[in-house]
């Protein structure tokens, strides 16, 4: 008897890999929030409407309290105070009194009255010239939405995952992610977003396979679909045939077993078969990364990103907030040598407290130390002071991003020197200024290695930015991003050339961009004697294994 397999149509969709690994499972579609529908109606009883107002205010307060306790372990105490502010707004005597007056005057429904009253506050807030206060209008909108939903008896879309699934959404916020039981998330697929979004970085560090920037294609996905996320190829498979599912299950199993084996050997240093040693360090941007760096056997931290201190703050971060934030992360791996990269963001990351001008070309604009010099007292100084103080307790070295020439390097060295002596005068005990290195990412700095090799203490290649500057292709622009991998040969040529000179001066060179974890480049790195490679912690075990198997 002939068996006819029912072959469903397989669809493969391209996306951007924002994480690693393979995920297989049923789809779970997260619906977008629907717009509110509030229509003015005559009410039969003013009292009934006022009762509805009172009960919706207390129901929403209870909800906010619930959100606050749900976030208690994720947010800092300062960030949690925002929920207290929401509670106070819900208790605002004027909000209630004005809404009641409106109901009485217009004999209308409470949701309409409330919407009218809150819109006045929203209007006033949006008219302010302070961007931070202006942004609070969003908070009032959110509270209004919660109140109206409560009055209308509409349930807010709550994301409840009862079985392990692959989430599909237009976009996913970190708040939404925090509200979901992450154990049930097999993978994430979003229409919007890029590799460097906060959510993408979070998913990668949690080891959740994710594809972002899928575009309109995800609207074709149906409720009962079965999906495979393949981050190795940046591909989503929809309703694959059984054969393909089996292949992927085997691949996933193999990757899991490989990883288990690699972790076992990862705690010791990696030496090639011919006896060359190469440090494999971790790129760290949050406390979870540091825990993984330790767990996965990093030989140190080759890139400690400090952006979280700036991007998560509602005000200019103070010296104390830098100090505490870094301490909380550094103490997860206290004995390691930590390479701390100074302030490195630009106008592509709008900050509520910084009236940063919109730039047409943020990658080439006032970013990183350029921004730090521009707002020295507010941005860079507190960070430098906090790091100098921490250098007494931890083994730190400072990595300077976006150094275009010797003048930039001298400027930052002078600033660090100044803050060092200022702290000494204030009575702080700091033995010496930490080593100061350059993030090699602006082509100008590599063209004459002799000039810089003497002046900095160490060098680290940021291959992602260097590639975008070499190819004149914006790495956040999907339409030209395919140029970046094509810079590989040039990058290796430049790294080799530069390393030769740096080594003559007795300076160490590391690579911390995407290229560092590219196994195809490993033999070149070993040949030219790169001192260390730095990468996301979960890639360390496999790279260490590859080094051990290299000649």
């Amino acid at each position: 008897m002939k068996i006819i397999l029912k072959i469903e149509k397989i669809i493969t969709l391209k996306g951007i890999s924002a994480s690693v690994g393979i995920a297989l499972g049923p789809i779970f579609i997260i619906e977008n929030e629907k717009p509110l529908e509030v229509i003015k109606q005559k009410c039969s009883s003013v009292e009934v409407e006022i009762d509805k107002l009172t009960s919706s205010l207390s129901a929403t307060q209870a909800k906010v309290l619930g959100l606050k306790s749900a976030m208690a372990n994720t947010l800092s105490s300062e960030e949690l105070e925002l929920y207290d502010a929401y509670l106070e707004i819900l208790k605002d005597p004027e909000l209630k009194a004005n809404t009641i007056d409106y109901i009485k005057e217009e004999k209308c429904n409470v949701d309409f009255a409330l919407q009218q009253i809150t819109s006045v506050y929203i209007y006033d807030l949006e008219a302010l010239d302070d961007p931070y206060l202006r942004a609070r209008a969003e908070d009032i909108r959110m509270l209004n939405r919660m109140l109206v939903n409560s009055i209308q008896g509409r349930l807010e879309p709550e994301i409840v995952l009862t079985s392990p699934s692959i989430l599909v959404a237009e976009s996913l916020s970190t708040n939404q992610l925090a509200a979901i039981n992450t154990k049930q998330i097999l993978g994430v697929v979003t229409a919007k977003g890029g590799k460097t979004d906060h959510i993408a970085i979070l998913l990668k560090s949690m080891g959740i396979p994710a594809l972002v920037g899928m575009g309109k294609a995800i609207s074709t996905l149906k409720k009962e679909s079965y999906l495979i996320i393949d981050c190795n190829q940046g591909m989503l498979l929809v309703n694959p045939i059984q054969e393909i599912v089996l292949q992927y299950e085997l691949l996933k199993e193999k990757q899991f077993l490989d990883f288990e084996r690699q972790i076992k050997f990862s705690q010791s240093k990696a030496t090639t078969l011919s006896g060359k040693e190469l440090s494999v360090c971790a790129n760290v941007g949050a406390i979870e990364d540091m825990q993984k760096a330790f767990q996965f056997g990093a030989d140190g931290v080759g890139l400690f990103r400090t952006e979280m201190c700036f991007l998560e703050s509602k005000n200019f971060p103070t010296e104390e907030s830098h100090f505490q934030k870094y301490t909380s992360i550094l103490k997860e791996f206290p004995k390691a040598l930590h390479t701390i990269r100074l302030l490195d963001f630009g106008s592509d990351k709008p900050l509520v407290y910084l009236k940063n001008k919109i730039e047409e070309n943020p990658a080439l604009g006032s970013r990183a130390l350029r921004l730090g010099f521009e707002y020295y007292k507010e941005l860079l100084k507190p960070q430098l002071r906090a790091l100098l103080r921490l250098s007494q307790q931890f083994n730190l070295q400072l990595l300077c991003p976006m150094i275009a020439d010797i003048k930039d390097l001298l400027e930052i060295k002078e600033k660090i020197n100044l803050e060092f002596y200022q702290l000494i005068n204030e009575g702080f005990e700091i033995r010496k200024i930490p080593s100061i290195g350059i993030m090699v990412e602006i082509p100008n700095i590599i063209l004459q290695p002799q000039a810089v090799a003497k002046k900095a203490d160490f060098f680290s290649f940021g291959t992602n930015d260097l590639a975008q500057f070499l190819m004149a292709a914006d790495r956040t622009n999907d339409r030209v991003a395919h140029y970046l991998p094509r810079a590989k040969e040039s990058l290796l040529f430049l790294i080799e050339n530069f390393t030769k000179v740096a080594h003559e001066e007795g300076k160490k060179v590391s690579v911390c961009g995407e290229l560092a974890s590219d196994e195809e480049c490993l033999s070149t790195f070993i040949r030219i004697g790169i001192d260390s490679l730095s990468m996301p912690p979960n890639l360390i075990p496999s790279i260490k294994e590859a080094i051990r198997n290299s000649p």
Binding site: A85, E88, D92, P93, E94, L95, L125, Y132, L133, Y353
Partner: protein
């Protein structure tokens, strides 16, 4: 009725957090509390009204308190601002 001028030292001004802390404290007293800023007078017990004033860091506001417990209320509110909204 008593009145006092004071400078807001918080690094942002009257935003959600500081406005709510002020309103919360003001609501503990019998007396009426009002804030005058930029020619606009609002109820000091209303977080929303305080936020919409647009008071920024280093701006000077006037607090007026009138009622039975006005001097204690004024003292508490001024202390709250002077301690930069830390209770």
């Amino acid at each position: 009725m008593i009145e006092k001028q004071i400078v807001i030292k918080d690094s942002v001004g009257f935003h959600a957090r500081t406005a709510s802390l002020f309103a919360k404290k003001a609501a503990r007293f019998e007396s009426d509390v009002a804030i005058v800023f930029n020619g606009k007078k609002v109820n000091g017990k209303s977080t929303l009204s305080l936020m919409t004033l647009g008071v920024k860091s280093q701006d000077e506001i006037a607090i007026t308190v009138s009622g039975k417990d006005e001097s204690l209320a004024m003292e508490s509110l001024v202390t709250l601002i002077e301690n930069n909204f830390k209770d």
